[in-house]
Amino acid sequence: MVSPIYIIAILLGMAFMLGLLSKSGTRIAGILTSVSLALPVYISISWFIQILSGNADAITIFTAGSVPPFSINLVMGLEEAFFTSAINILGLLGFIYLSADLKKQGVRAMALYLVLIMGLNVVVMTRDIFNLFVFMEIVTIAVAGLIYLKNDNQSKEAGFKYLVAVGIISLFFLIGIGFFYFYGGTLNIDGFIAANSVVVKGATIAIFFIIISIILELKPFPANGWALDVYQAATPGVSALISSGTATASIFVLYKLLPLGSEIWLQILTVVGAVTFLGSNFLGISQKNTNRLLGYSSIGQVGLLMMVIGFMPQLGSAFKMIFFSVFISHFLAKAGLFWLSGIVKKESITDWGILRGSNIALFLFGIFLFALVGFPPFPSFYGKWQMVMELAGTGRFIWIVIILLGSFFEGLYLFRWLGYAIKGEKSNEEKLQIPWDKIVPPFIFGISLFIAAYYANSMSVYGNTINLIPLVFILLLFVIDFLPAYIKNTITIGAMVYYAVNLYPSISDDTLRVVFAAIFLIGGILTMIAGYSVKGKRKGFFPFAVMMYFGLIGLIEAENLFQFFFAWELMTLGSYILIIRGKFSMKHAFNYMLFSLGGAYLIFLGIAMSSFGNTSLDIGIIGLSTMPGWSYTLLAIGFLTKTAALGLHIWLPGAHAEAESDVSPMVSGILLKGGVFGLIVLFLAMGGEQAASHPLLYSLGWLGAITALGGNLLAVFQEDAKRLLAYSSVANLGYILFALAFMTNIGWLSALTYSINHFLFKTLLFLAIGGVVLRVKTHNMYEMGGLIKQMPWSFIAVLIGIITLAGIPPLSGYAGKWLFYNAVITKGWYFQGVLVFFAGTIAFLYCFKLIYSVFLGQPKDRFRKVKEAPIWYLIPQFILIIGIMIFSARPDLVLKPIGALLTQSSYFPSDSLSWENVTASTNLGYWSGYKIMLVIGVMFAVLLVWLMYMSRKTQKVKQFNIVYAGERPFTPETTHFSHNMFSHYYKALGFLSAPLATRFWNITNDITHRIADGSKRLYTGNGQTYLAVIMAYIIIIYLIMF
């Protein structure tokens, strides 16, 4: 084992040595510097491994061969080894990244760099408070020097402000040290603690000055204007060092010094951290400047770390794991993002479309963002989960709200940024230049995130319950992304089939789960078949499609709430990327993400509240919640964001309509059922039939009814075929919500029938319309017309789809309607029910508009030669049609077992549906799908034959051969009655379709952004103001404490 003192020796020695090399020797200097940065990496890592594995103990080094107080002592323990390793790895990679810039500046810049890394190492290791001060000063000066690397006015100004601000902070630190020595008689931290000097009156003032200056070093909100200017002005490579390096050292110093102070410091730290996390992320939401935005995020993350430290006693044994996962996510992701920012060289996040020039860079960018926001499987997901659960265990819900709100704001601006990167404008002339030395560091950090994720997973108490194999499969799909799409498609379908076959035995006794698993997996396979029509590589599609489906299946497989939430987040992430792939999807995908994030955090909070007072995390604990009102409501609203209940629906139309042709059915017919399944889980946990009179359900019933009405009404007034279908989904999910809220046997049967039907017909319709859109290249129905001749198969598919949608017998839609009537009357929700039936008749309007405007009426000249939709689109459509036919003729095959499950499992024992062969009956009425189909089929056939006989001499005529007062119509465009088809209806009921929800969210959004913008005026850019804020901050904390 190499003594850690050599870290200092090597770095400092080389820094001096470099001075001897002439300017012409920058190349050699560069190599020497790299080597001397690599050695400390080896030293610190080997210490870390040895101590971790128990082969070595922490050592204390006394310099100058003497003991404190006459020497400086350094400690290399597990924590020190970890943090120095992090710093040294960052130092090495950061140097590789910066080497080109540093070389330009000459060897002195390299020396400065070495001094910085050396300083950070000592700051971590030292146990001597004065020594700490000295090395913090060294770090400050080195950082300031590196800020000047950029050599423009902005960075000079920022560097100066930095020096002044940190100078003032050091001043307080120094005063603190004075008091420290005066009261403690030692400069050694351990000595001070050992002497129990804390209790000495007056020592508290020493501690106050010391700790407050460390806190200020961590750039707490709002005393951090100087830091933001630095992040913005410095070259990104340096910002990476500041964000991940100095912040790391400072946070460790804080951790190290905390034992000096009393308990109250922990509380102060919690408050400071919370204010910083929330405030900084809040101000970030309207930020467009890349590096400044990263600055806000950095400061926010450090705030979160402060909170974690502040909650140390409450977090108990989980502290280490939480700290590790939050820290490592921030450390790796933030450095990585700053580095990428240096590659992209765009000041505004709106110009980041250029990142698409490189797959690797885009991939890394994505995972860094996901890691920061805390999506699974990245470490911060585990960390945040554990932290929230621990806090929930002690009832600290306000703090949880702060954490989630801050995370939400952070997600908001990060995903806006991601949106610009994936979909933003990109000029073709500009090419992204990626030298290897710039991409290697972020690449290594990106890979490290996965390794860290693995460790976070194994450290987390819930981690071992997560099935990581599908995640590995997703990663594998990234690796083989260079292959043609059809190969990847086949692999994906194969994997899904394999998964389905393996899954079935484990859930076969739970029909409810089987139904949803079938929707997710069979639906997934069918929609993937359509993907065969895509030529080329279809980069980045498959991993996320699999992620979404795996997330959905994970919901079904989840045994506890952790797994459930894990799957929920995966599903959200996968579907977001799928949605944003559409040509004009940027805005809509962003809206989707906002609502999904908001919804996910509500679910998270709901889970946390349910877990209060319960020891396990079984799904059933929702029902045992000690705060049932809160838990139920939060969870319900969370799930409703996914099912797009009215008011929370505004993301859906755009997201579904603008998605790619084969993605729309995935996110509409299938994904929405994820939310439905969530509601099912919630309602079952609430206690099935016993909960039927719960006031929440009553309001959800009304909400469902209003959603059904609103969705259908809005669909009627659409001109865009896919938007029409999207609004129709809103309405259908309204039906499902309404029926679920009944909490009766028949109500649930009708909800499940609706779910199955909606899956069948909406996937069918979206595929069919998607196929048409592929051919005609427009979504506007009035531009189409008469396509039945060119696309007869698509027409049949749409016809079957709308008959099912409208609930016309003999197809299965009617089963849903019939069950519905029975459920409404048994439950006694007459008026809500009437609203829903009214909505049902409105559905006819858009069903007709859809099929008529697209396939019937007058064909347009420019579409005379279009071909039928691709065969790969038609195959899944006809499989779905077969599905509809079977479900229509023999609904008992599905409904009987579900009914049996609902009855026997004591969820809904009473008022069940009884079956006699194929005839279903309730207390009220009866219905026999099979016989109805038979009667109608025979009759239809007889009449058809008769008509064919009677009109056997019919001639076909040309397009314009119609009864038109002896004249010919002018053009197909003026003869095709389609645009604004229901203007009269709009005149009568249009007022009901006023976009109130959109207006509400726009205003909310506007106000939030304005407040954030307004608050940013605090950061005037004036150094004096910054100092005043720092002073005020100290005074306020002082007043709070004493």
Binding site: I788, K789, F795, L799, I802, A806, G807, I808, P809, Y814, W818, Y821, N822, V824, G828, Y830, F831, V834, F837, F838, T841, F844, L845, C847, F848, I851, Y852, L856, G857, Q858, T919, L924, G925, Y926, W927, S928, K931, I932, V935, I936, M939, F940, L943, L944, L947, S951, K953, T954, Q955, K956, V957, Q959, N961, I962, T975, H976, F977, H984, Y985, K987
Partner: protein, 302 residues
């Protein structure tokens, strides 16, 4: 054997209903003419029209769906007939009502409407599409009072089976829904006006402005089928209301009388009131008739 007998009676019933429908429409048109101080057509004119239309040799088609439209339409009409019990207490005259209940009939009505809409749509005539869009729009509002009435009587009789509803009304006029649940009856009868397409809800066909709307392009056999359907549908819809609100029928004589009176109600109103535009009829239907329907339910649940 049972099945053959059943089918025999079903076909016989259909034959009776069709003929009664044709005669009834003749009578009604005669009455309308006389009210308008005209001599009017012969009572058997509908038969003549039908025979003429079925005999026309030259026919044109605009495509498959155009062809299928009338088949859908007639299937819709006959389908409702098939699922409707005609004579109370008679197993043989109950058709196939054992396969489904009131809800089936309520929803099967859409089958014909949809098919017709599509067929007419392929005809390519803008007036057809205008007529359909008006029809569908107005229809949403027409259904609402009926839905309220259906729910009201389902609560009242605790069943959705038409046979049972009829059975519950036996034993004199005091047991009819008309008397026991007048609000539901009123709401439904207003809805009936809309369903029959006479003034004030005749904007769908509106012969004076969009030459008969949806069927504009149909002629010959196609039109014949549509006329056949109309004859059946008018009677069977009247039978439905008769079953639900006016005690049903225990023999064919009563069925003919009651269905005539029910149907005549729509003619009577149509003669007195002028036509609504769609954007007038919808708000009108959604106000008073819906309120009456709500009262019908509210009275039962209080």
């Amino acid at each position: 054997m049972e099945l053959v007998k059943k089918i025999g009676f079903v076909l016989l019933g259909l034959f009776i209903i069709l003929n009664w429908g044709l005669i009834m429409s003749g009578i009604i048109r005669k009455i309308i003419a006389r009210l308008g101080m005209r001599r009017g057509i012969k009572v058997f004119q509908p038969y003549i029209n039908l025979i003429k239309n079925y005999s026309i040799r030259s026919q044109i088609s605009h495509g498959v769906m155009f062809y299928l439209g009338p088949v859908f339409r007639l299937s819709g009409g006959i389908g409702i007939f098939l699922f409707m019990p005609l004579i109370h207490g008679s197993e043989l005259w109950s058709n196939f009502s054992f396969t489904g209940d009131l809800i089936l009939i309520a929803y099967f009505a859409f089958f014909g409407m949809l098919g017709m809409a599509l067929g007419a749509g392929e005809g390519g005539h803008p007036y057809s599409a205008i007529g359909i869009s008006r029809g569908l729009a107005q229809f949403t509002a027409i259904e609402l009072p009926l839905t309220l009435a259906i729910i009201s009587i389902a609560i009242q009789y605790n069943t959705l089976s038409i046979s049972e509803i009829v059975a519950a009304q036996q034993g004199g006029i005091q047991n009819w829904t008309l008397v026991t649940n007048p609000f539901a009856t009123v709401a439904a009868m207003i809805s009936f006006l809309g369903a029959m397409g006479h003034s004030p809800f005749s904007v769908v066909m509106a012969p004076q402005e969009i030459p008969i709307g949806p069927p504009t392009e149909y002629h010959g056999t196609f039109l014949g089928i549509l006329q056949t359907n109309r004859a059946i549908l008018h009677v069977i819809e009247a039978v439905l209301y008769m079953n639900l609100f006016f005690g049903g029928a225990t023999n064919w004589g009563i069925l003919i009388l009651k269905s005539f009176l029910v149907y005549f109600w729509s003619v009577f109103v149509g003669m007195v009131f002028p036509r609504f535009r769609v954007d007038q009829s919808i708000p009108w239907l959604l106000k008073l008739p819906v309120l009456i329907g709500i009262i019908a339910i509210a009275l039962l649940i209080i």
